[in-house]
Symmetry: C2
Subunit: 175 residues, 2 copies
């Protein structure tokens, strides 16, 4: 079975396919984001001594780490995985000296997880690299275009957010 040699699709469909494929702005969006991400990671890696790798699963915690400290359970809820899974990641980051666990004064069962001084420095370094890449990009495509991109992306995000909440709530159940 499946030994035919003739293509299963007509030449007309074939070219229609190829035409559709390259025209998509969304594909460009995906590609641009992927390339930017790779470039940023490469630059950070290049400007960092060595040591055990910090993986995406770890950096996924960063946006939720404040300076006040956050409870493991809350952190897990924000990230959307179990506390056990997050616990392991926090262990790793603590071993690297990036975060520290301080006991919660209001609840002696709980501990608060926050950036250590070193973790904060590392994060700032990463953000600095990102900023550097962004500046390079602005130089390459022009400052005006960069500003326009910024505005447009905000609009795109807003539109996609609206789309998401719309499909989640088929018949007005907002708070």
């Amino acid at each position: 079975m499946a030994r035919r040699t003739e293509p299963p699709v007509s030449a007309a469909e074939r070219s229609r396919f190829e035409a559709t494929r390259d025209a998509a702005t969304l594909q460009l969006l995906f590609k641009a984001a992927r390339l930017a991400n790779e470039t940023a990671l490469a630059r950070v890696a290049a400007s960092t001594p060595a040591g055990p790798r910090v993986r995406p699963a770890h950096t996924a915690l960063f946006p939720h780490l404040g300076f006040e400290g956050i409870r493991l359970t809350d952190l897990a809820a924000k990230v959307g995985v179990t506390k056990q899974a997050v616990g392991q990641l926090v262990d790793d980051l603590a071993a690297l000296g990036m975060v520290e666990r301080v006991s919660d004064p209001d609840d002696s069962r709980a501990k608060r997880i926050r950036f250590s001084r070193r973790g904060h420095a590392a994060l700032m370094h990463g953000l600095g690299v990102l900023r550097g890449l962004q500046d390079d990009l602005a130089a390459a495509i022009g400052a005006r275009r960069m500003r326009e991109l910024h505005e447009t992306l905000k609009l795109v995000i807003a539109a996609l957010d609206a789309d998401a909440s719309e499909s989640k709530r088929p018949a007005g159940s907002g708070a």
Copy 2:
């Protein structure tokens, strides 16, 4: 150890951090791409019967699947993993009827992997969904802005590509 209650970072650094965090256009780029991807996947899932899931590892093959068929070994090289790994993915897709293996007329060891009629239809469907999302987006942010975005993204990709090849070749080692 690590039982201090005073934040390890000054308030000044703290606000500097927060300022840096939200200003980044690159962050917006990442977020927009992620949201668009999620939305597209949700729409495809919603417009598809059920069945075993096609995962990212599978779709990673699609860009290299032509109608002529490609050898497993070549496909693996293009994707950048071993032939064994790709073999499993192709098995899955074949079980779903998305691709078919036809024996290579020029080499009786080899088989060519290509989209089946059904696989092609599914792909076209997916691309159609993507196009629909794109149209919605254009309606939300305006056609002019969408065209600008398209152009800007092409420039961004070109700039990042240039950056990548530059850092890979520190002292002229081109073919």
